[in-house]
């Protein structure tokens, strides 16, 4: 007799919400336990964090509706049980966070520089930008304009750099460091790969020395040793000395990144360039470097992120960048004890900049992968 075999059960659903949950959260009992545990912790923490940062937080007024002017008026000081963050400290000090102690009458100069920075940088980042060529001309002269605009000259009142602070110092250090380190890095990278033994040894020693010591020792070097090296009468202000240290530091890292790009260029490119009679500099400027830089841009952006974060180190030698202004605000007795708000705000500002930069580098990597294949064309 033919027995009818029992029909098999349908396979477990792998689509739809339930299927998705089963695949991604409860695929086996260990995964289920982990998911439940993580879920439990998230339920504990996320509402608390949201409540603290947003729903129970003071922005300008406390829960009595009074404008907050000192720490005693913060809801979390008046009512430690229910009060959230007291963002009033950021509100009150916002000017300092953005401009430091830049004179209020002259602050339009900083704002104009910020706006021009956007105009100078955005066309540089996206090669599909309309009229990019003309914008890039502006990018080249922007540093000069910004220098005179911020520092004074040509009829503008001079504002000494010790009045600069907050985001202004962070951006000046970051942008100038990156912009100056880029050409220096190219020269060092070419130097390290040079056939001339003296030049390659010197470049290698310089790069390895800088990469072997922490940035903070270079900043100390700029602060305490540089003045000793300069002849009498030549004075550099604090910001300039720090800039020298930051630029030297960044150029060594930039050089290694660009060297990586140079090594990726097939030997045939060099030989082809030489065989059509190009000189060393023509070969590098017209054939090798454009390709090498193109493939190393993602890594260049990544080291630039590193530099941007490292600019916070200048507080150790006494400059007031974003973090420095934050610490200054905390030292003020009217706002004592609001450390978390200040650090949260400063972290957020840095996060926005660095996260945007890291997304940009990812975007470039993707574009490069789908772009022209190096050496094969």
């Amino acid at each position: 007799m033919n027995e009818i075999t029992e029909s098999r059960k349908p396979p477990v659903a792998t689509t739809g919400i339930l299927g998705w949950l089963r695949m991604n959260l409860f695929s086996n009992w260990i995964n289920s336990l982990i998911s439940l545990f993580v879920l439990y912790i998230l339920i504990q923490f996320v509402p608390w964090i949201l409540n603290w940062t947003i729903f129970a937080a003071d922005f300008k007024y406390n829960f009595n509706g009074e404008q907050i002017i000192n720490r005693e008026m913060c809801s979390r000081v008046l009512d430690p049980e229910n009060g959230g963050a007291c963002w009033a400290i950021i509100y009150v000090r916002f000017y300092q966070f953005m401009y430091g102690f830049y004179p209020r009458d002259e602050v339009w100069r900083v704002n104009l520089s910020y706006a021009m920075l956007v105009v100078a940088v955005v066309p540089l980042l996206f090669d599909k930008f309309p009229f990019r060529k003309h914008f890039l001309k502006f990018t080249y002269i922007f540093p000069i304009i910004a220098f005179f605009l911020l520092n004074g000259g040509f009829g503008l009142e001079s504002v000494s750099t010790n009045k600069w602070g907050g985001l202004l110092v962070t951006l000046v250090l970051g942008c100038t460091g990156i912009a100056l380190a880029f050409p220096l890095g190219i020269v060092l990278a070419l130097g390290r790969r040079s056939n001339l033994p003296v030049i390659s040894t010197m470049c290698t020693l310089f790069i390895e020395f800088i990469r072997g010591v922490p940035l903070i020792t270079l900043l100390f070097f700029g602060m305490v040793m540089l003045p000793l090296f300069l002849p009498e009468g030549v004075n550099m202000d604090g910001l300039a000395r720090v800039l020298v240290a930051v630029t030297l530091f960044q150029s060594a890292y930039m050089a290694e990144v660009i060297r990586g790009g140079l090594q990726a260029i097939p030997q045939g490119q060099y030989e082809a360039a030489r065989s059509i009679g190009l000189s060393y500099w023509q070969m590098n400027m017209k054939v090798v470097l454009p390709q090498a830089i193109r493939i190393s841009i993602p890594s260049i952006v990544n080291t630039s992120i590193g530099l941007f974060k490292d600019t916070t180190l200048v507080i150790i030698v006494g400059l007031l960048d974003l973090l420095g202004i934050g610490r200054g605000a905390l030292a003020d007795t009217t706002w004592l004890g609001l450390a978390y708000e200040v650090y949260f705000f400063v972290s957020l500002v840095f996060f926005i900049f660095t996260f945007a930069m890291s997304r940009y580098s990812l975007y470039l990597e993707k574009k490069l992968k789908t772009g022209i294949n190096m050496g094969a064309d």
Binding site: G212, P214, M225, T312, T354, S358
Partner: protein
């Protein structure tokens, strides 16, 4: 025809000419700097030389777990305390960051969607916020812990307060050195057992329980010896006397803040290199080993990790170097490392800026070079060897 007299178009001549020019300019620059520096130092009445190293320091260092430092000790002692503190936080940080980094890297490749997202958020947040900020943040959390009088207790022997973690300090009595020697011997012999077992397995295919025998040698033998000698180890317990704890061992909040921040920050970077390393092993390897019938844990241990390590180790090395260099940020929270103790306080007290900075930089260079040398040796040992 090219004229022989046109030296400049001769490549050899040009190369020598440029190199001589560079050396000349460099020497001129050095000469100029030395001249101005000597003049500036003379004007400021700063005597150069290394004599200040043997002068008494005149300040205290709150955290010096290896050397008993007193304010009458010399600047040279400050230097040694600083080097040891730098190495301590770097080594602890490297070990912890490696463990955490591997864990997070593997988690990010797991099949649990929620866990992957949490790990991703952790990595993005810690990577994109300056380390200095994180160190200061951890420190500001730690010093808000309860005061000494209300310190949190664990098992009546651990006390956590805003002055740090107090714990019992082991006191080694006579005879403990034998136990210590036996532990070292056990490690060495386990190493040789492993080599022998591997060779035997390669030759005959027989396996040897290496892990359990090593466990027995390292843990059980010293333990038996310990009891035979008569428990030559006692503990010095911390006790609250007046305003502070007496006795025991203390881990300062500066160290904890540095350790936590360095570990959490670097682990985020390490997790990314681990992730890309594991991803670099092609899918075929996994499928091939599965089709051979290997267990899941074996596939990871015997097939994936050895191949992934080849990709992971070079960037891991640079992360170790970064962590060591970043430990110099201890100055922001007053952790008495090389930069804060010797390059900061000693420099300010003696005014010997050039000497102090030269020593600090040379020390960091030495540490960096040592790490790279060892990691390069390790890297060579795991690279693919074609038989």
């Amino acid at each position: 025809m090219r004229s022989k007299l046109n030296f400049f178009s001769d490549e050899k001549f040009r190369s020598i000419f440029f190199q001589t020019l560079v050396i000349g300019l460099f020497a001129l620059g050095i000469f100029f700097i030395v001249q101005t520096t000597a003049y500036n130092l003379e004007k400021r009445n700063i005597a150069t030389g290394w004599r200040f190293l043997t002068d008494p320091a005149g300040f205290d260092i709150s955290f010096s777990p290896f050397i008993d430092f007193k304010s009458t000790d010399t600047h040279l002692d400050v230097y040694f305390v600083g080097v040891l503190n730098t190495l301590l936080v770097s080594v602890c940080g490297c070990i912890a960051a490696t463990i955490l980094g591997f864990l997070v890297g593997i988690i990010r490749l797991s099949s649990n969607w929620l866990l992957v997202r949490v790990a991703y958020i952790y990595v993005e947040f810690t990577r994109n916020v300056p380390l200095l900020l994180q160190i200061i943040l951890w420190y500001s959390i730690l010093i808000q812990l309860p005061r000494v009088k209300q310190s949190l207790e664990f098992l009546d022997v651990f006390f956590i307060s805003n002055r740090g973690i107090y714990s019992p300090r082991p006191v080694f009595e006579t005879g403990f050195s034998y136990v210590f020697i036996s532990i070292i011997l056990a490690f060495i012999s386990s190493f040789f057992i492993r080599r022998w077992a591997k060779k035997r397995q390669d030759d005959t295919g027989k396996q040897f329980p290496v892990l359990s025998s090593a466990f027995g040698l390292i843990i059980i033998v010293p333990l038996i010896l310990y009891f035979i000698i008569g428990s030559p180890l006692s503990f010095d317990y911390p006790a609250l006397k007046g305003f502070n704890f007496k006795g025991g061992m203390v881990i300062r909040p500066e160290f904890i803040a540095m350790f936590l921040a360095l570990t959490i920050y670097t682990a985020a970077f390490i997790s990314e290199t681990v992730r890309s390393g594991i991803l670099s092993v092609t899918k075929g390897q996994r499928e091939a080993s599965a089709s051979l019938g290997l267990k899941k844990s074996w596939i990871m241990r015997l097939i994936i990790i050895p191949q992934a390590l080849r990709v992971i180790v070079p960037p891991l090395t640079s992360q170790y170097l970064n962590l060591t260099k970043n430990s110099s940020l201890g100055i922001a929270v007053g952790y008495a490392d090389l930069v804060h103790g010797f390059g900061g306080i000693s420099l300010n007290q003696t005014g010997q800026a050039i000497e102090c900075m030269v020593i600090v930089m040379a020390t960091y260079l030495t540490i960096s070079l040592t790490i790279s040398v060892f990691m390069n040796i390790y890297n060579r040992s795991i690279q693919f060897k074609e038989k």
